[in-house]
């Protein structure tokens, strides 16, 4: 014991004693203070209670069973989405012996401005199919958004169509190998 006390009088001893003291203070503080619930790692999936608001008193505050999307709406005299999709596809497939400008010009009447922009600079030589191989299938996503799948000789084309004021235009072009 006397050796220990003598050591505390030295510089090194004092340094070690101070370190032990700091560790004790911080450590005891952490242990006594514990971890407050609001420090739980929320992102890891822990669900905490919060005094306000407390939606957990509710049942299902979501949609419940969502209503079926309203049927796509086409203005009188305008073309329905499946027909617009098929017309677009025929122009899209016609890629032999046409320039990039001619190919894009043929697609313009059926494409949104956003799609026209994404198709600018495309070499029609890269169109990976030559003919339609089956009937179009439409999936209604909402009153103004429809997906149409068209089977081709080398895969399937999926067109996304949107309507503005009941007039349908192709807005997206996806192609998939069989």
């Amino acid at each position: 014991m006397r050796t220990v006390l003598r050591l505390l009088g030295t510089r090194y001893g004092a340094a070690v004693a101070l370190l032990v003291l700091i560790a004790l203070v911080v450590g005891v503080g952490k242990l006594v203070g514990g971890s407050r619930p609001d420090q739980a790692p929320l992102g890891s999936g822990t669900v905490i209670d919060s005094p306000s608001p407390n939606p957990s008193r509710l049942g299902d505050d979501g949609v419940g069973e969502p209503p079926s999307p309203p049927p796509p709406s086409t203005s009188p005299g305008a073309t329905d989405p499946s027909t617009v999709a098929m017309d677009f596809t025929q122009k899209w497939l016609h890629h032999d012996g046409v320039t990039a400008d001619q190919w894009l010009a043929a697609l313009r009447p059926y494409a949104t401005k956003a799609l026209q922009d994404r198709l600018s600079g495309v070499d029609p030589l890269t169109v990976p199919a030559s003919k339609v191989a089956g009937a179009a299938t439409a999936t209604d996503r909402s009153q103004s958004y429809v997906d149409v799948v068209i089977p081709l000789d080398s895969g399937a084309l999926t067109l996304g169509l949107t309507s503005t004021d009941g007039r349908w235009l192709v807005d997206s072009v996806d192609w998939q190998r069989p």
């Binding site: 090194y12 999936g45 905490i48």
Partner: protein, 370 residues
């Protein structure tokens, strides 16, 4: 040897031993409360990259991909790492190669092909991509892809398919989107989770709210989760409730197309309540809400918005784009965002999954203090 000296040596050895054996745990114990962000601990537990790909090492198996496809993916990522391309670029490159070649180094397809596209990215020698031998070299083809990608202004924040299309100039500009989930899985498997890191940073780091992960996902609303998915008390609760003050901006969790913008608020007897005023526990429905259809047929839903959302049906949104603000419309007893994730393009309750593990996997963990 003097006693003092002997004690000095013993102390020094003990300190070294403590640091070596349990330095991390000791430091974590004393510094734990100083962590600036508890939410990205969840992503950190899954890994946020930092692993350099060795194309010659034993590679993991990934879903239904074959060894050659995984080897080609490793080359694509490795070239990206050598060039200092941030991880969002690796995800875009893998998704592009999945579309163009199914990650297979395709030779000339002969009569079946009416143009001269070759290799992983179907690059055309006649369009200036290189000699046929060069574009058939996976490392060369990858380098050319990244050079073109880095030259596209703002590629880091574009929808994946838009960035890919700016490089590929294909006749199917939206075809790359559907490969984003598998490309994310591939990058995560080969790099210890780099698709969960901040997408536009070269040095791998987990994502904070407001940042977009390399997989293309971000936290829609920053705030504590006050009610979980299908809990014991609320077995039909098909999402999570994120508490936030009225007017807090809600962000699109990923790029996609808006498929629903609607007010749903009525009383038990069917009387319309409307969304131009706060709801309450006696009101049923989601209030003002938005649904977004993302790549891979994933749907997200954002309920109880304060006013008519800022987006319209059919609108394309980017990851992180503001879509509306937090409110209290519909079946709500205080301002919060009820957030749902659905898989398989199924927006009914049977398509709903727990958003917490889903968002952790995407590198955009929900939660955090408001």
């Amino acid at each position: 040897m003097s006693l003092r000296r002997r004690i000095g040596i013993i102390t020094a050895v003990s300190v070294v031993l403590v640091i070596v054996c349990c330095g991390g745990a000791t430091a974590a114990f004393f510094l734990g409360g100083l962590s600036p962000n508890p939410t990205n601990q969840a992503a950190a537990a899954l890994g946020c990259g930092g692993k350099t790909v060795d194309v010659n090492a034993q590679l993991p198996t990934i879903n239904s991909l074959g060894d050659k496809q995984i080897h080609n993916a490793a080359i694509i990522i490795s070239v990206g790492q050598q060039m200092g391309v941030p991880p969002r670029g690796w995800v875009i490159a893998i998704a592009t190669a999945l579309q163009e070649s199914a990650l297979t180094n395709l030779p000339n397809l002969g009569a079946a092909n009416d143009h001269d596209s070759l290799g992983l990215f179907q690059q055309r020698p006649s369009a200036g991509w290189g000699t046929p031998e060069q574009v058939m070299d996976p490392a060369y083809a990858s380098r050319k892809f990244y050079e073109h990608l880095l030259a596209v202004p703002g590629w880091q924040t574009m929808a994946l398919t838009d960035a890919a299309q700016r490089v590929q100039r294909s006749a199917y500009p939206d075809a790359y989107a559907k490969h984003e989930p598998l490309a994310t899985t591939v990058v995560n498997a080969l790099t210890n989770g780099a698709a969960r890191a901040v997408g536009n940073l070269v040095v791998a780091r987990c994502v904070d709210p407001g940042e977009i992960s390399a997989s293309g996902w971000t936290v829609p609303v920053k705030g504590p989760i006050v009610s979980g998915f299908r809990t014991h008390d609320r077995p039909t609760h098909q999402g999570v409730d994120i508490a936030a003050s009225k007017g807090t901006v809600i962000h699109a969790a990923a790029a996609g197309v808006v498929t629903v913008v609607r007010c749903q608020a009525h009383l038990a007897d069917g009387t319309n309540w409307g969304c131009d005023r706060d709801g309450g526990v006696f009101v049923l429905g989601c209030g003002w809400y938005v649904e977004i259809l993302h790549a891979g047929n994933i749907i997200t839903r954002y309920c109880h918005q304060l006013r008519q959302p800022d987006v319209v049906v059919g609108q394309r949104v980017a990851a992180g784009q503001p879509i509306g603000v937090v409110g209290d419309t519909g079946n709500s007893s205080g301002p919060h965002c009820h957030f749902e994730v659905h898989l398989g393009g199924d927006n009914s309750s049977s398509g709903a999954v727990d958003p917490i593990p889903f968002m952790n996997q995407q590198g955009a963990p929900l939660g955090d203090k408001a």
